[in-house]
Symmetry: C2
Subunit: 460 residues, 2 copies
Amino acid sequence: MNGDTINIALVGCGTVGGGVAHVLLAHADRVARRAGRPLALRRVVVNDPAKPRDPLIPREIISTDIEAAIRDPNVHIVVELVGGLGVAKKVVLDSLAAGKHVVTANKALLADAGAEVFEAARKAERTVCFEAAVAGGVPVIRALGESLAANQVTAIQAILNGTSNFILTAMAEHGMSYSRALAEAQRLGYAEADPTLDVDGSDAAHKLAILAQISFGVAAKPHEIARQGIDTIDAMDIRFANELGYTIKLLAEAWTGGHTHSTNGAKLSRGGAASAAHANGGPPTVALHVAPVLLRHTDLLAQVRGAYNAVLVYGDIVGETLYQGPGAGQMPTASSVVADLIDLGVGRAQRTFAAAKLWSREGRGFTVEPPERVRSRFYLRLQVVDKPGVLADITRILADEEISISSLVQHEAEEDGAGGPVPLVIVTHYAATGKFRKALERINALSTTAAPAVFFSMGD
Amino acid sequence: MNGDTINIALVGCGTVGGGVAHVLLAHADRVARRAGRPLALRRVVVNDPAKPRDPLIPREIISTDIEAAIRDPNVHIVVELVGGLGVAKKVVLDSLAAGKHVVTANKALLADAGAEVFEAARKAERTVCFEAAVAGGVPVIRALGESLAANQVTAIQAILNGTSNFILTAMAEHGMSYSRALAEAQRLGYAEADPTLDVDGSDAAHKLAILAQISFGVAAKPHEIARQGIDTIDAMDIRFANELGYTIKLLAEAWTGGHTHSTNGAKLSRGGAASAAHANGGPPTVALHVAPVLLRHTDLLAQVRGAYNAVLVYGDIVGETLYQGPGAGQMPTASSVVADLIDLGVGRAQRTFAAAKLWSREGRGFTVEPPERVRSRFYLRLQVVDKPGVLADITRILADEEISISSLVQHEAEEDGAGGPVPLVIVTHYAATGKFRKALERINALSTTAAPAVFFSMGD
């Protein structure tokens, strides 16, 4: 506690903000010891000052006046916990312009406007910290930016959406349907009333965009990242995957052509096209997607259960390292926000920010692989009418698109459903996503196909 | 690359040193970008300059002269990779006195002489970095010291010895005997010709001493840490544990009285005595040990296979986070050493070192719980003569020491061994280690006990 006090304004005091305020107030001595100086909570800006809050927060520091907090010359750091792109963006940009450092947990803002925010910070010679924006309490931003600084990351495989992982775990372990597992997640507070952004992969795509910027220097907008949600997964897919030796997880993945590291015997080498482009003298590319992926039961990420997050990083020097923990929730997220505040107190964060040059013109030479060229193996589940020639039609279409079949399972029709549609599961060898999609269109147009085809990526 | 070049002397160029040299030379541009300035390898000090080395290392920077490297005014950082306590300690202390920062992977030196080394660094106003000293490529030093800085750690459970974990995995998955698994580990290069320090828990105790300093401010000498190796584990213990639903892992553990966090349904709450002392107004205590521990199959650490390391940290704010990866090996360890060099280049490490006040008089109020007072459940396997009254004697002794039995399994004697010794497995409820040891002595003295009792801790 050698240094001067650092004063903090908290803009937004909902779940996470309340947690941050509590840690700063209840553990002020500890935080001061770790930061080398006191971190004082000076202002808390809220929408509704009448709402009951943590009794540790002095009434007199609560207000609705954002501008006053940002303009307060005694405030050194603004913590933005409003979320979203509107008010939050203005809070962040105005705070930087007013000479404040910013700590934020706002993944949408960074994924969408990272370049604008970081340019503003560099212009103002201030620092933006965002450990809490990806994977909540799991310190993956520091891992990628500092601990693995000797490495070029060659691939990332991550469970970044706890809601989806909770639902998939419930489906796998308790045989629940998707809708029942979702209802259970909502009942327990793991899913919101409108779960769309979680289950359609948007949330994970925002986080992947941030990790891709740190690891590959690419500025992929979330909507440019190929994205598939978990809402098409049927209980029977979980069963079929299990029979084949696989677990379905919603993964955010990034992999480069140079990635050849093998994990637990499985190989993440789907960057075929990327690799080819690089070998042909083109720039190195990185493939990005959020999708349900079939992982072997023994894969590290297959064993991540419930609402947890986990990030598996492959570095060209270290090999694979895994970071796992609570990806959301009040106190885990607050833990990461306060770690950023302590880093600013110590003076580490400023050094890191200046050195990392994120969202700047200084790229790392990577470009994003066009989704249609990304190569993968696929799990394909069809509902077909049980009559002669069906299989011949489907296999012909796949052959036309140069997709070969690795395995195929057709179960007998259930007794009472004789003659009706039966499930047919095909696992392909590596194929370009574009060609696979074309084959899908043709298969879906067959008169013998009773429902749109369901497909997921294979993790090996 | 805005800053001045930082010059590095590497003292020791064996496996890890060779890896560090390779990364600095083969990836000089990358390292300079990340560090914000070039990191130049200026001197490599070795025992035998004639030995073949990485062709990237210029012949003219290789010498045997340690003193010249340390005294060279152009050298800013000395990387000590000699290992051990003799020469290495002198290299580190002399380098600090000569005004150099030090990066080391030397767990024994820090565990044994951390206070002396850090005092010397503070006196010289220089920094000591040691990410590679614990868990090789897994960035657990940064996790505890920076990422989790908002937390008081309440418990650590860690697999810190890859050799032991490889052996235990081979025993569990392939039904190997201890000696055959050890031979296999030696054949594959995971175990040395003399594996004593790995399999008797010494190596893990060194690493635990370092983690305990960072997390609890205690300066436990490795020989003061209660320690039990894996060499008493028989293939039948692995089988019995498996029947009970457990996997045996060699764990380095630290837990405080305040720790009540539950993981995957299991509860690490063995700090009973510590808790009681604290509640009675005494100072908070932390229990430390290295021991084979029975973990439920679903526990995260039970699933860590082969030579991997993993560290599960419980923080009072974040809950549990897991860090996993390669705990040894040339390039993983080099990855951590170079990360430290980059941190010195960025200027982060100096801030961290000054703020953390490790091995200083500024403790955190914790004292180490005397081993005999540490409470645990125990797995106890006896070889008893199959005759009346045996069980009565044993259960009487346990009752005398206030140890109650949670479960008991006695298998029938095998056909050809009728009348001979049979295994008897007892799992106890919580008991103080001191009382348990006393009971063991009395049980071993029984005429019906055919071999010394084998016992391990239960993880829940």
